[in-house]
Amino acid sequence: MATVNDVVIKIATVNGTGSASANSLLMKSIFQMGIPVVGKNYFPSNIQGLPTWYEIRVTGDGYQSRSGRVDVMVAMNAQTYARDLAEVSPGGWLIYDSTWPRNKLLNRDDVTVLGIPLSRMCNEHFKGARARILMKNIAYVGALAALLDIDLETITGLIERAFADKQQLIGSNMEAIRLGFDYANENFVCPLPKKVAAMDGTKGHIVIDGNTAAGLGCMYAGATVGAWYPITPSTSLMDAFRSFCSQYRVDPDTGKRTYCIIQAEDELAAIGMVLGASWNGARSFTPTSGPGISLMSEFLGFAYYAELPAVVFNVQRVGPSTGMPTRTQQADILSCAYASHGDTKHVLLFPADPSECFHMALASFDLAEGLQTPVMVLSDLDIGMNDWMVPEFEIDESYVPDRGKVLSAEELEDMEQFYRYLDVDGDGIPYRTLPGTHPKGSYFTRGSGHTRYGAYTEDSAQYQDVLDRLLVKWETARTMVPQAEIQYSKFNKAAILTVGSGDGACREAIDRLAEQNVPLNYCRVRAFPFSDEIKEFIDKHEVVYVVEQNRDAQLRTLLILDCESEPSKLVSLLHYNGMPLNADFVVENVLEERSKGQAA
């Protein structure tokens, strides 16, 4: 079927051959033509040699999730040729490097195979093994430009921008583009029936990954101390923070740094550093992933009880244990919500895309300081490491961080006596002081039993008094966290409820189900504790499909615990194979659950 701006391209390459920049060039050039795109990188936990794929969904409708199909496969990796060919949707195309013979036994009648002698052409035109390998990638972008009708001038502009500092590379890259472009034009009917055409669908948008967005958000939030231990898939968050800081965080008078990034010896130390810094008044954070949360748990309980702000980004990956470090999941919801021994519960934020990573990074510091407690931002590998098209970030010119209830030297001077854990305002949030401010502000920060006055205690009533007051604070948190996103019509008795990166697939599924006369309302949870409208939303429906990316229905469990929702209403749709969620999964499973319901 011929389509315009509705095509899925998948590129199969070998890890470490430099295909990432070629794939990014391809995606960006389509984006710059005004066409919405979705990019997904499926990569191994490996430095070099294992198979890797990049998938670009061109979606004129502006959907945010990956598609279940592949229209054009660029099979550059002999190792995965058989499965790559098998994955092409009927009627699709397969492009391969015809320098070498391919296995004709694997032919499919319903797929058009296009051979391009990429290696041969690049070997003839470029010198040196490294250049030949890199240019082969650029050459397939050229071929795809001809086959899909991508604007060459846009590609040229992007190459010129990428190599502004290395002019000599512009010529060779353009030469490689032309090699592929001309070969395709001379040998195939270009463009293919599935092609792209310039439109006006990307205005005011950028293409960015969630970790970069979160790192930028941390800088804008005024974070000055970042401590971390490298772990996939969170590493690029600190890389981004460092890169922005190196540009914007140099004191103009002294040329010295106004930020401190510490690579810790492990995650135990990383969170300890964050707590020390926030205790001392700096906005501080740590990015990590599931295994890091496990290690940080003891300190998270400490911070909950001693009431110290902390911002933790958990870019979730596949568990349990080491699991699959380069695949995505939402399986740390419960371990974060109740991290650490004893009665603890933590504020969680759930960004759905890089835009929310930026805005929630800003919000997380205000919440952590406002509530004097750790705030965990639960992103995932799909959001954190993939490029997403999102509206460009906006901040208010008058943005001032909310440091919460911190007493100044003057306020302390005027006070009779300061007590650290006294609920003066009735909202469960006490006042705090920063070391070095005033002798009257001193108190002892401890994880051992303490009274409302901050003194050590083993007295039952005094201990319980503080523990109960923390519940008052928890209810205050419920009113302060970001509200859920809700689409509601009173005519619909069923709904989809999801979290984080499930958003795009669920929205697309809702559109498709509506076309099949299955209208559904929608709720996307954005924070824990759950704000009141979530409970009300669930109460108003007969059935709520809870779509999440883990095996054990962790979000559903949390809804039952925190909202006391009726469990029989909450029907789980669970996707946990490590690939990002897509709309097909949601549509098929909603229909299946409905048919079960009707049969009964």
């Binding site: 804008y220 101390v225 914007y248 010295k256 400490f302 010119e397 070391p435 001193s442």
Partner: protein, 351 residues
């Protein structure tokens, strides 16, 4: 009990420091440790050291982990902020605290369990960063709060009250710190205040990681015959290598020292530590000399004490990173936040 305040009575003629405070002003709550615990003597030495250095109480941060030693920050300088972290994690909290505000004076009190077992990793890495702090280990070779298990610093042959002697090699914090490149390394004995107070003062003023390993016998579980960390054993094998005197910046060094053995070392604030070398061949600025000396005396069963190594040339953590002198926690926000227009420019890279 530690939550009972001491009566505020001070003799009108008590000496006052330059801030007009008496030593009583540097005290904390009443200790809950066992009567005769070495740790209480260390607490007293800390109070004297801080009092004499004229440190403003609210500019001192008291850091600790878990254990008998880690309880002691409650027993000195009540008007300072204290942070009693989780077990073995005091170094990371102090690292973060120092990152946020480098103008406070950091004193960490830890023990052999807290620093050499559960917290060994953090102890090591704080040294590696040359974190600017005074790190005191109250070392008694035993776990007190859990009733008498050996710690990692128990010597081979050391006998517990019950059970078999220790057979495992001890971890010596001093030689560990020396091999890791700590820039101020001292050892003393809780019962020797004359030596301990100036060593703590030097450690507080040293611009980098300063370790003071204090043999501090546990009267309840490790002060019997056969224990190598008992009062009797320590007194018998105690060997002064160097004694240190602290001389404030304004004061002249008087010639009370024997020429061949006096060695003044200038600290960053202009004050001096004057070392009186008992052993003239000892050079506390050479890691190689220090290491050999330590091992030889260890093999002879002696506990070498004094300022065993010092390097005033190496930069501390902030200096190594090129960070601003102002505390990051006090840096004005409008300078941390590039503004809306710059955001637009940054985002243009992602089109």
């Amino acid at each position: 009990m530690s939550y009972i305040a001491k009566p505020e009575v001070a003799h009108p003629n008590m000496p006052r420091n330059k801030l007009g405070l008496t030593a009583r002003d540097y005290e904390g709550t009443v200790s809950t440790l066992c009567a005769g615990c070495g740790h209480d003597s260390v607490t007293t030495a800390i109070i004297q050291a801080v009092f004499q250095l004229n440190i403003e109480p609210h500019m001192l941060a008291k850091m600790s982990g878990i254990g008998c030693s880690s309880k002691t920050p409650a027993y000195f300088v009540s008007q300072s902020h204290g942070f009693n972290a989780v077990h073995g994690r005091m170094p990371s909290v102090t690292t973060g605290a120092n990152a946020a505000n480098r103008t406070l004076t950091y004193i960490g009190v830890s023990g052999d369990g807290d620093s050499l077992s559960i917290g060994a990793g953090q102890f090591v890495h704080a040294i590696r960063r040359n974190l600017n702090m005074c790190y005191i280990i109250e070392n008694n070779g035993v776990y007190g709060l859990t009733k008498g298990q050996f710690s990692a610093s128990a010597d081979i042959g050391s006998k517990p009250k019950k059970g078999l002697p220790n057979q495992q090699e001890p971890i010596d914090p001093v030689s560990t710190a020396l091999s890791l490149g700590a820039t101020y390394i001292a050892r003393s004995f809780s019962g020797d205040k004359e030596q301990l107070i100036p060593l703590i003062q030097g450690a507080l003023l040293h611009d980098g990681f300063a370790l003071v390993d204090v043999i501090s016998p546990c009267v309840t579980f490790n002060d019997h015959e056969g224990s190598t960390k008992s009062y009797a054993h320590t007194r018998q094998f105690y060997h002064h290598v160097v004694d240190a005197d602290y001389v404030p910046p304004a004061e002249e060094i008087k010639a009370a020292y024997n020429d061949g053995s006096a060695m003044p070392i200038e600290l960053h604030d202009g004050s001096k530590i004057v070392l009186r070398k008992v052993d003239k061949n000892y050079d506390p600025t050479s890691r190689a000399v220090s290491f050999k000396f330590l091992r030889d005396h260890f093999n002879a069963g002696e506990i070498t004490t004094g300022l065993l190594y010092i390097d005033e040339s190496r930069k501390e953590m902030h200096g190594l990173m090129g960070n601003i002198d102002t505390p990051l926690s006090e840096y004005p926000l409008d300078k941390l936040h590039p503004g809306r227009k710059e955001l637009k420019k940054i985002l243009n890279r992602y089109r």
